[in-house]
Symmetry: C2
């Protein structure tokens, strides 16, 4: 090391991760090993401005993250290996295409190559829910697992599978669509057009909707006061908070959510026999009011050796999970392993 460098140049290489969502884009960097993370930034996606504007925004965010990481570490631009991108799907990984994304309104959009050209770095593309699962496995709550299922519950329910220590994509990159598994074949209508999907019961909006339905039945609940009688303002978060405050109706809604989720996860236990399920997203804020009846439903519906073999953990990385997972998929796709 020459004596005139003020910032010690950390030996090592860096990768940038992009987690593209319908609402927000999150970008950050990490060392190749993932143990040090830098410059996590979040901006609104604003897909309404068109794909070109989104690509430019992602490019600017990457440039900022690279510059900030260089400033913090003394790294040089040449130390950045590339960019891993996580995007809603379905995708074609080999071609780097987003085949279709209702939230962004894209069809067959060459996101990987557009971002790569924008920042002049190699890039890879993978599914956002895969990335979130991979991130928690690489650096978070699912670390050490071999057969891991990740379930992220938000506006929708996304899933990712790690089997034998590798992200599993299936025959055409759509594996892991756990939100659209049927738990009640004649049940609630799902946004996807089918009936009885897990997502139609346990996503954030579905939780709010079930609470509204219960309240419309004239049952007493603090929820009615908290939205000043405007049931359209009920959110899943309000339901969790009211449940924590002991509100009976809200507790029922959370308990039912746990049962629906438990039914979907029991199916995964009986099919996969995973060692770890990592749950992420707003619903984990419900805490034990959710996890206790969820475990009970698993014991009710899944085989004992499968229940015994599996730990259910909340994710610990928050917004960084998708970014770190995108970084890990860049590593896996370009170097064969993390």
């Amino acid at each position: 090391m020459s004596p005139h460098t003020r910032h010690a140049h950390s030996p090592g290489r860096y990768i940038v991760g992009v987690d593209l969502g319908g609402t927000n884009v999150v970008v950050g960097a990490a060392t190749e090993s993932g143990d040090r993370q830098y410059a996590l930034r979040s901006e609104l996606t604003r897909a309404d401005q068109g794909a070109d504007a989104v690509v430019e925004r992602i490019g600017r965010m990457i440039d900022t993250v690279v510059a900030q990481t260089m400033a913090e570490t003394g790294a040089k631009r040449a130390d950045f290996l590339g960019v891993g991108i996580g995007s809603p799907g379905p995708l074609d990984r080999a071609k780097g295409l987003v085949i279709m994304t209702p939230n962004l309104g894209w069809r067959d959009f060459p996101l990987r190559d557009r971002v790569s050209a924008q920042v002049n770095l190699p890039a890879t593309l993978d599914n956002d829910a895969n990335c979130a699962t991979y991130g928690e496995w690489w650096q978070g709550a699912a670390r050490g697992g071999r057969d891991v299922i990740g379930v992220t519950i938000g506006t929708g329910i996304g899933g990712g599978l790690i089997l034998g220590g590798k992200l599993f994509h299936g025959a055409s990159d759509v594996a892991g669509e756990i939100g659209h598994t049927t738990i009640d074949s004649t049940g609630r209508r799902c946004k996807c057009g089918n009936y009885g999907c897990l997502e139609a019961y346990a996503s954030g909006p579905a939780i709010a909707e079930r609470a509204r339905e219960a309240l419309a039945g004239d049952e007493a609940s603090v929820l009615t006061e908290r939205v000043n009688g405007d049931l359209g303002k009920i959110t899943a978060r309000l339901v969790y908070d009211a449940a924590k405050d002991g509100d009976f109706l809200a507790r029922l809604v959370v308990r039912d959510t746990a049962r629906f989720l438990g039914t979907g996860l029991a199916n995964l236990l009986n099919i996969f026999n995973p060692d770890t399920i990592v749950l992420a997203g707003g619903v984990t804020a419900a805490g034990e009011a959710l996890f206790q009846p969820l475990q009970a439903e698993l014991r009710r519906r899944a085989f004992k050796p499968a229940v015994d073999a599996c730990r259910i953990v909340p994710g610990t990385l928050g917004d960084a999970a998708g970014v770190l997972g995108a970084i890990a998929t860049f590593k896996a796709q370009t170097m064969g392993a993390v």
Copy 2:
């Protein structure tokens, strides 16, 4: 080759496969490569006589199969590498134990080592539904697949998973229990104690039961005559036959079976995105009356890229599937690959 040998001694080595079921034991042999099969034999299991008697019966069957294969091929006893055993589970493969099998009444029974000692050959143990899937992949209808799901429909519904060209076992060897995935969380009671399992709708006995329920409603059907009014005699096979003869009620029962199966398989498509699903067991006898509405239900419930990527095929090996799969698992467990 010396001129005095009458039977040419096929160069190569042989493996014996055992498919142990609650009703029958099937045993056969094959060359190491699986391309030539010998001496398939089936006998009643007679688990009521106790585990020792079953082990002795399996041992005698193996000895007969070995002798017959030697006679047919000119092979020597030393050319037999060992025995692969497929058994109902749950199992502990590493220890070679059958942990519990309601149909046989066993608990923690060291089946692998007992059979091995009986015939003085190395042995391996795997789940019967895994073996049936593996057999169809190795030598049958699922050949060439990479991510394959096998579903065997009989008294129960068993499943096996081949992911990335390898049999997938999960964290404690219970992966693949497709029959006990929930398709209707408040639905029919299953033998396993839960509600709404696929098996409670689409197994052979469940198909017969749904037909009986329909007939009890006074609907006209040739089925009533064919059992002389004794509805207890309705079987799934009678339902398929009546459906083929155009009986409306029987056709409805088969159509509903296809819808239930389609719901369960759509879940697997959305989770795994396999390239092949191989269906085996009596239900495939229903032919297009089953497969056509099954495909329709898949298109209704599964993502298009997942439906497009997957062929659904009936098994072609029949009884030999489990035996060949057991042979293949012996190879995989002792040599690392087939």
